[in-house]
Amino acid sequence: MAELSFNKDHGYLEGLVRGMKAGILTDTDYHNLAQCDTLDDMKLHLQSTDYGKMLSSSEEDLTVSLVDSKLRENLVTEFSCLRSNALPPLSTFLDYITYSYMIDNVVMLITGALKQRDVAEVLPRCHPLGAFDPMAAVGIARTPTELYSAILVDTPLAQFFQEAVSDTNLDEMEAEILRSKLFKAYLESFHSFCKSLGGATRDTMCPVLEFEADRRAFIITVNSFGTDLSGADRSVLYPSCGKLYPEGLQLLARAEDHEQVKAVADCYPGYKIMFDDPEPESGCKTLEGRFFEQEVKLNTLAFLQQFHFGVFYSYIKLKEQESRNIVWIAECVTQRQKSKIHNYIPIFK
């Protein structure tokens, strides 16, 4: 029934986002980009795509970081256009997308403060999608409790803090744990929000978020090898909304090395392929790269249905992946690593 009145409130934005999706670079674009010899060539080619004059309007010399920031700026412009036109519940949905960037920013600022970096130096590196006012003050806090009660209590992130409140002093390890805890709460909350929306939004978003949750669980496990994070500590950090919940997570908590993680993944056909030994001709792709590939696949599926919010999430994620691709190619071009240039992840084949 929600489909009946969907277009009344969100039809314009859905149309907009589908139009913007048509501007996502195609295989031929990537092929042409990969042939470039300098960044100027890339700029020339990007001019013929939807990016248009994005890169040519600056006077400075082209660098990879400039490309990166311009791409990011572009994404933020598009997102803020969507957000400012959105009505509830889409506006809440879009806000949820920004929360993950906020979490990343908070953790980055904390680690920055721990390393005695100046806030002004760290701030520009924060993702603008996750910017919020008292962000710069994060460095004042000494413990997560302080962080919560003093700074984040009236930001949207407060709702994720219920489990993360502790009085241990913040160090780098603690910051990572804080990130994981926040992400867990965030993913679970987002998941239940999408579930409550129901309809096609639930059908498209839940698999994506479940995948995201499972990916975090795997990554936490793999990264914890060699640190003093015990299995029990780990299991607190696993988001419980994925497909791995509950048996897979228990198994993961007990895993001691890479082989055991692989054994867990073998039980789940969707994740089995990620841990399979790489075939020699496919190039050596990292675990992270394969997860990204899988994420892209899942996100492209969202465009097959209509009247749902998944397209917004997917568009932002795909665009982010596209920026990563362009930056990767730009890096390869500047460092003359032509052999690795094809390791980008094409989006629409």
Partner: protein
């Protein structure tokens, strides 16, 4: 005339340009705008082409120009958009332009940076003075509060307690500190809350708003600021407070410890602000000077750079010769213009503006096939005519014509031409056709004798009421007793003869006016429709003849024309015959054409009074011919082509022998043309190795012809009916204007007191507004639409396929000329 009727003959030419002079040649061709370039290296990506560096340079210049234009616009200097058309600069001059531009950019950048810095400085100083002024009131307020505290001296131990705390604080080495500054008004609430939470109440915050709007240096928008003063205990808290201030982007200024210091600072600030103001003014003046200088030549530069870029794009389309000494370009070019092209390449500076006539109303449907008959020249007349048949009103037509005339007279007005209003542009582009439509409407309005739903009695009506009395048919009592009386044209003197032009004005008074006009307009639209369609069919012969398909003439055109004329042409004949033969005297005997026409198909009607002797026989003959032409149309062409294809071997041999004897090439060419005329097969030609065989598929051909036949035969019926829209729309227009007159104007005219004159003014306003908005604009658009449909569907499907490709020549004049159109701004 030939080039008007058909598109220009085109040829594919190869240009060999010396690499040294290629640039100039292309520049010349661009000014000329005759030829369309083909891409000779489509496989090469954009950044691998030859002149990519030059294009990059052009883009760099465009960027600087865009920057210049933005700055000029920001400074409110008007851009001189003169009608100059500078030629593309020589490649060697590019560097000098580039240098000039770069120098300007650097200079401008420096000045604006300085200006920004000064403005920021000024803002800081003003903020500081505001802060000092406002914080003084805070202090004064606390001074005022001191006497209040005195009242509480009855509770000494409370007072003592605070004293104690204060002293203990002092003992602990904690100092009372102040931080003061300005913050955005929207942020003060969050700021206060944060301060409270982080410092757990060890701070006192007092704040007040600045009354003036201060300009935000980043966005340039004026915004309200709040001055705050925080007093805190202890260094640690001070650190935190400072950090919080940082994260809320507060502008913090040192807080003077004493009143004397404050006064000194205020004094110092005032002088500095004055100094800054003068410096800022100087900088702005200088900036304006620089921009003025730049704005003089910026227009020329923009055009030059655009032309240059276009030339390099074209050069990128050309391919290099093997020897690398000349460039090869392939162009589509009208054959007639080849001499011009050569002249342009040889000499350089000749200009010619030859264009193929095209008509947007036809082109919107489809661009004609190569060398197909172009309906545009006929449409120029028929379109406004059919429009006017539906829009027939002298007054409305005159208004429309005057409006269009105004547009035509002022067409060179820059303001009219360069507007960005899309709806206005649509009208403006069509000003000539609107003028024609208006003039034709005046004509049909005269014929209908309709002017704002009233009739004009110019020549005096041919009917006389007086005669009815003199002949004694009517008595005075008849007029008293009856509401309606019928004039009898058979009484001598009542009807003296037809009105010289159009409908007699007396019909405007008649109660059966509608019946009379309906019958007239309906028949007229059928006749017009049949003429229009027959004309379309006849035009198709030009195509058949031109494409050397003579068999189409006999096997397609002839049956089509016969079918149309035998059935519907005969209908038109009957209508005219009835008009001519039956007069007022024997009008009671006049038969119904509809019944006769139906009987014609049923092959009966012996029981009826014939229109003329031998009618039944003629009708049977016509129906038989029409029915017989259908199978000819259906089978003739495919069977003939099949026969040609199968019998080709025999005939081909025979012709081949003949050809051996004449081997001069010109004769061969003539022969081929001769063969084509006779519908010769293509395999024959292919034996000479110059033309590939065209695949022949009988099934395909038959299917196409079957579809065409069905479409045509059914189309004749439905298209004839479709022309009745002429009548319907014309009726609707006349009735609407009559309703408007009766409901609005007549109300005003009925009042006969002096007040009526005053009342007439608003009534006339309403009448005028409704006339223009409903009758002219809305009705005009609908009549336009229907006229368009009659041309596209009913007329053009008889002969026009419209699947051609338009030539889009490389021409500088097609580059966007105004600043708004390009993305520089």
């Amino acid at each position: 005339m030939c080039s008007l009727l058909r598109g220009e003959e085109m040829c594919l030419a190869q240009l060999f340009l010396q690499s040294g002079s290629a640039y100039d040649c292309i520049s010349e061709l661009g000014e000329l705008g005759l030829v369309e370039f083909r891409d000779l290296n489509p496989s090469v990506t954009t950044f691998q082409r030859k002149h990519v560096n030059e294009i990059k340079k052009c883009e760099e210049m465009e960027r600087i120009l865009g920057y210049l234009l933005r700055e000029v616009k920001k400074a409110d200097i008007s851009l001189p958009e003169r009608d100059v058309n500078p030629v593309a600069p020589l490649p060697k001059h590019i560097m000098s332009i580039m240098e000039q531009l770069q120098r300007l950019e650097v200079e401008l950048g420096e000045v604006t940076r300085n200006k920004d810095k000064l403005q920021r400085n000024l803002l800081e100083l003003t903020e500081y003075t505001h802060m000092l002024r406002i914080t003084r009131t805070f202090v004064q307020r606390s001074v005022e509060r001191e006497p209040l505290q005195a009242q509480y001296e009855e509770f000494p131990f409370l007072e003592k307690d605070t004293m104690l705390e204060y002293s203990s604080m002092q003992r602990l080495g904690a100092k009372l500190g102040f931080i003061s500054g300005l913050i955005q008004r929207t942020k003060i609430q969050a700021f206060e809350r944060m301060l409270w939470r982080v410092c757990k109440g060890y701070t006192i915050l007092s704040y007040a708003e600045v009354e003036e709007y201060l300009e935000d240096p980043d966005t340039g928008e004026p915004s309200k600021r709040v001055v705050f003063l925080i007093s805190y205990w202890g260094d640690q808290i001070g650190q935190k407070v400072k950090k919080i201030c940082d994260c809320y982007h507060c502008h913090v200024y040192p807080y003077p410890s004493s009143n004397e210091e404050r006064n000194d600072v205020v004094e110092g600030l005032r002088t500095r602000i004055q100094d800054l103001h003068t410096v800022l003014h100087r900088t702005e003046d200088y900036l304006k000077q620089v921009l003025m200088k730049a704005s003089e030549s910026v227009y020329t530069w923009v055009i030059q750079v655009k032309k240059m870029k276009a030339i390099y794009y074209i050069l990128n389309l050309c391919s290099l010769d093997v020897t690398n000494k000349c460039l090869i370009a392939e162009v589509w070019c009208p054959v007639d213009d080849i001499p011009t092209l050569q002249r342009a390449l040889e000499e350089g500076s000749r200009k010619s503006g030859s264009t193929v006539p095209s008509f947007n109303i036809v082109d919107a449907y489809g661009v004609g096939n190569y060398r197909e008959v172009n309906p545009a020249p006929f449409t120029i007349i028929t379109f406004p005519f059919l429009f006017a048949v539906m829009f027939g009103d002298l007054g409305h037509g005159a208004i429309m014509a005057l409006f269009a005339l105004w547009m035509v007279l002022y067409e060179n007005n820059r303001k009219l031409k360069n507007t960005r209003n899309e709806i206005w542009n649509t009208f403006f582009e069509g000003r000539y056709i609107i003028l024609m439509m208006g003039l034709f409407s005046i004509y049909t309005g005269l014929i209908y004798n309709d002017c704002f739903s009233k009739s004009l009695n110019i020549f005096g009506s041919g009917w006389s009421v007086k005669a009815m009395f003199t002949e004694g048919v009517w008595k005075i009592a008849d007029i008293r007793g009856n509401r309606f009386l019928t004039l009898d044209p058979n009484v001598t003197g009542v009807f003296t003869g037809p009105y010289p032009l159009g409908i007699d004005p007396i019909w405007n008074l008649a109660s059966n006016r509608l019946t009379f006009l309906n019958s007239y307009k309906m028949k007229m639209s059928v006749i017009l429709g049949i003429i229009h369609m027959s004309f379309g069919v006849i035009l198709s012969t030009y195509n058949h003849l031109h494409f050397k398909k003579k068999y189409n003439l006999y096997l397609v055109f002839l049956p089509e024309l016969l079918f149309l004329l035998c059935l519907f042409g005969y209908l038109a004949f009957m209508i005219i015959y009835k008009w001519l033969v039956f007069t007022a005297k024997d009008s009671r005997l006049a038969p119904s054409i509809l019944i006769h026409f139906i009987n014609m198909f049923l092959m009966q009607g012996d029981g009826m009074q014939p229109l003329y002797p031998g009618q039944t026989g003629l009708q049977k003959f016509l129906v038989v011919i029409a029915v017989l032409s259908v199978p000819v149309l259906l089978l003739g062409k495919p069977v003939y082509l099949y026969w040609l294809h199968n019998g080709s071997n025999r005939i081909g041999m025979y012709r081949g022998y003949e050809r051996v004897r004449r081997n001069s090439e010109e004769e061969l060419y003539l022969m081929r043309a001769h063969d084509m005329e006779e519908g010769s097969d293509h395999s024959d030609l292919s034996t000479s190795g110059e033309r590939p065989t065209e695949e022949f598929d009988f099934g395909d051909e038959f299917l196409h012809q079957a579809i065409h036949t069905i479409e045509y035969c059914l189309g004749c019926v439905s298209n004839t009916a479709s022309y009745l829209r002429l009548w319907a729309l014309s009726l609707a227009h006349a009735q609407l204007s009559e309703v408007l007159w009766a409901m609005v104007m007549r109300v005003g005219l009925r009042m006969d007191t002096t007040l009526g004159v005053l009342f007439l003014v608003p009534v006339f306003c309403l009448f005028a507004v409704l006339t223009v908005s409903i009758l002219l604009v809305m009705e005009g658009l609908s009549a336009f639409l229907h006229a368009l449909r009659l041309h596209w569907v009913e007329f053009q499907n008889k002969f026009y396929s419209g699947t051609g490709v338009k030539l889009c020549p490389f021409s500088f004049s097609l580059l966007p000329s105004s600043f708004e159109h390009d993305c520089l701004l």
